[in-house]
Structures are given as structure tokens and as C-alpha cells.
Symmetry: C2
Subunit: 242 residues, 2 copies
């Protein structure tokens, strides 16, 4: 079926997926471009394909054809794609594995996407989004994750209740700071760990810092106040993955 | 003096600084927000302060007062600042030091900013921008560098002529690839090195790859095709800074 009007109810509903509130209500989110659509399909998370009229894309999945105008209306990108996908959110929500990354109030969707990509690269088992963290299904997060969000177990939990439980289960809980604590290169290796990364401007909240066993910092030039949080996270995960 | 009209010639000229062409012609660029303005001032690169009427900011520098509308017109940001600065570009342009980072066609201004920030953190002496690399003074680059561009020696050079000269001078030239070459952890330490990072989508060009002594790759999960180039650069610089 070809959709030609942005007044169509289905199109209007898809457009609403650009807001977090409606994504949560519907349990769905949008991806843009063939790479992300394919990653979603391989992960069994693609529900429906949205294709520009006259385009073809061989996937055994429900497909709706739309005009360029509709893609432009639905897209979050400056250069409008010819293909988008409707995906379902991750269903199971268990903290599992031995290498955990916990995010405390990360605000920038691009940073979250970068962190997801590096989490897959360096074998994180579960990424935990604390309260006040940007939405996993924000279009910019999805895009900058380069599809890696389909390869990672991501859950949402209040960190103040999760951390004490992890400690009971034998996890070593590493907080992170710009200075103070143990240099990353000197961190002792432990089997089960949780690393906590804090907000872009303010770092970890005091409430959460008080729950940590130890703090990690990355040695650097004094002229540089701090690293980008996506970069700092990636360096820590790289080092702990050795 | 208070400027109230975006039709004013001086305001129009400042607006043109949002384009690379005019920045190159004028030798000037804009920064937004008090943090960047202060960094520019400390580095002796601030030429003039642009302040919203009724605001105060104690710097011994020429100041022009403008309306909120004018700041909104000049700003590249969604949330308009109350303070901006006109800065002069870096004057001296020498490749100096023993730790060099060379960029081959990096396209994303945010990635370049991240790379600048990590270059300062991990003691890069000179950052070399090859041809086809995004402009150092792009507003997004300046912003994501968090002012670190004022702490780094950055030069522009055609890499194909620079690299052979560096090799003659005893630099070890490391190319980078997603796979193939030497694992980052096993790289032998050398006193004088140049690391080359390639384009976000395509990596290094063949022409430049042929000039390298050795290739570095970062060990990672096979599910992850690649890392963000800002992240990969930062991890390599972190490791070589040990």
C-alpha cells in the first residue's frame, strides 16, 4: 500500500515515535537507513519496513510504501533516507553477566550511542541506564550506536537500589572521577565488576559515589580538565577488557 | 556601543564567520559561552567580546553590546548564549615535537573536537589536518573541543608530502585499520611517532596507507564492526601515552 498523506492516522502515529513518551507507550521506535534496518532485522526486532515508493529492498517483512515527503516528515535526519524501519523495543530486562556498565544521568544521546558501540566492542554484558539518563531509543542514540544497540543487553534500573544488591552478589563497584582514586592502569582485575559513569557536566551524584568500592581515574595532561564521557567510558572498557 | 540591528555591517560580517570560506579570509572565528571565551582570552586569542545588553563580564578587552536577537542570529547553538567571542586563528604553523597525530579526511566536526580534546589529554605535540579534513574552526568542532583547541598546536598539511619527510626525520609512521597489523597492546614504544587516523566511513586512503611503516588495530568483539573514530583515536593516544 502506498501512503501519500501526512494526515493519514498511521503516518501520524509513526511520527509520534519521535517522542520518548509515545515510544514508551507503543513499545516501538524508528530506525533510518539500510544499515540500521538490516541490523534490526537480523536481531528479530524489525516490525515493519517503510520504503520510498519505487524503491526495493528484499526483506521478508511487512512493508509500507510512502512518498519522499512522508519520509522527510518522519525522519530525524538532515538528509532524508529512502528507507526506515519500525522496531520493537527490547523485551527481556534482566541484569546479567559479569561485566556491567552503569550510567548515572548521561544526557547526550550521541554520547549514549557511542557508549553502546564501545560496550559491544569491549564485551560489556549488561548496560544499565540509571534514572535521568537519556532515552535509549532517541533517534540520535540509535544512529550513533551504529546498530550496536541490537547487540547489547540494555536495562533501566534505579542505581541506588541496584548497586547494594550487586555488592551482595560479589560485584566490585568502580566509580569514576576526573582525579582521585586509582589510576586506570593500576586497577586490579576482578571477575565481576560494575563501572559507573556520571553526568557530562557534574559526574556521578554524591549519593551514588558513596556506594562505590573504589574510584578509577584516567591519567592525563593537567591542561585538559576532562575527557568526553563517551571517550572516557571507552578507554576504561578497553583497559578492563585486556 | 549597543548594536540592535542585524542589518548592521559589522553584525553581518560576524555572521559570515559561520562559513569556512569567510573564516579563512578573515583569519577569525567565533566562540560561544563563557567557558570558551575565557579559554580564548587566556590563550591570547580573544579579539573582541560580544555581550548581551545589560550583561557584565570582566575582561580587559574590546566589548560590543548586542541585543538577544543579534546573539540568536550569530549563534550556531539551539540555546542562545549571552556571551560570544571573536577569536583569531592560530598564527604559527610548524610541525613540532615528537608525538604527532595526522588526520586523513575526518569529516565530522564533533569527532574532530573530541580528537582535539583527547590529543591535549594524552600529550600530542602537533595535530596535522590533512586535505579534505573538516575545518578546525567549524562551530561544532570548537564547541566539542571544550576549548582545548587553544592548548594544541594544529597545522594543515598535505599528508602525502609530509609523511615521507617525517620518515626521513626518524619518525615511525603508524597507520590504523579495523583489523590487520599489530594489536595496539603489542605496539613497540618509539620516541618519535606519527599516528594516522582515517575517514569515518572509509578509513585511510590507499595512497597514504602505502606510506606507513606499520598498522595498529584495536582488539575487539567481532560483533562490533568498528569504533567511533574519536573513540579509536583516544584509545590509541591513551595507550601510546603510557
Amino acid at each position: 500500500m502506498l501512503y501519500t498523506s501526512i494526515e493519514n492516522k498511521k503516518i501520524k502515529d509513526l511520527k509520534k515515535l519521535n517522542t520518548r513518551k509515545y515510544r514508551e507507550k507503543a513499545g516501538l521506535f524508528l530506525v533510518e537507513g539500510s544499515h540500521l534496518v538490516l541490523e534490526a532485522f537480523k536481531a528479530g526486532r524489525l516490525v515493519e519496513l517503510i520504503l520510498e515508493e519505487n524503491e526495493t529492498f528484499s526483506l521478508d517483512i511487512a512493508t509500507m510504501y510512502v512518498t519522499h515527503n512522508i519520509l522527510s516528515y518522519l525522519s530525524d535526519m538532515e538528509s532524508v533516507p529512502t528507507i526506515m524501519g519500525v522496531c520493537k523495543k527490547q523485551e527481556r530486562e534482566d541484569v546479567k553477566g559479569e561485566r556491567l556498565l552503569l550510567l548515572d544521568s548521561i544526557q547526550d544521546p550521541g554520547n549514549l550511542g557511542t557508549i553502546i558501540r564501545s560496550s559491544v566492542a569491549f564485551h560489556v554484558d549488561t548496560l544499565v541506564l540509571g534514572e535521568h539518563t537519556v532515552d535509549l531509543y532517541n533517534p540520535k542514540t540509535v544512529r550513533s550506536s551504529q546498530g550496536m544497540l541490537f547487540h547489547l543487553n540494555v536495562v533501566s534500573r534505579p542505581l541506588t537500589s541496584l548497586i547494594p544488591r550487586l555488592k551482595e552478589e560479589g560485584f566490585h563497584v568502580f566509580g569514576t572521577r576526573v582525579t582521585g582514586g586509582t589510576r586506570l592502569k593500576e586497577i586490579k582485575r576482578v571477575e565481576r565488576f560494575a563501572v559507573i559513569m556520571g553526568n557530562e557536566g557534574n559526574g556521578m551524584s554524591n549519593e551514588i559515589a558513596e556506594l562505590c568500592d573504589d574510584f578509577i581515574y584516567i591519567d592525563m595532561n593537567e591542561e585538559c580538565e576532562s575527557l568526553n564521557v563517551g571517550v572516557a567510558t571507552s578507554i576504561i572498557l578497553y583497559e578492563l577488557d585486556k
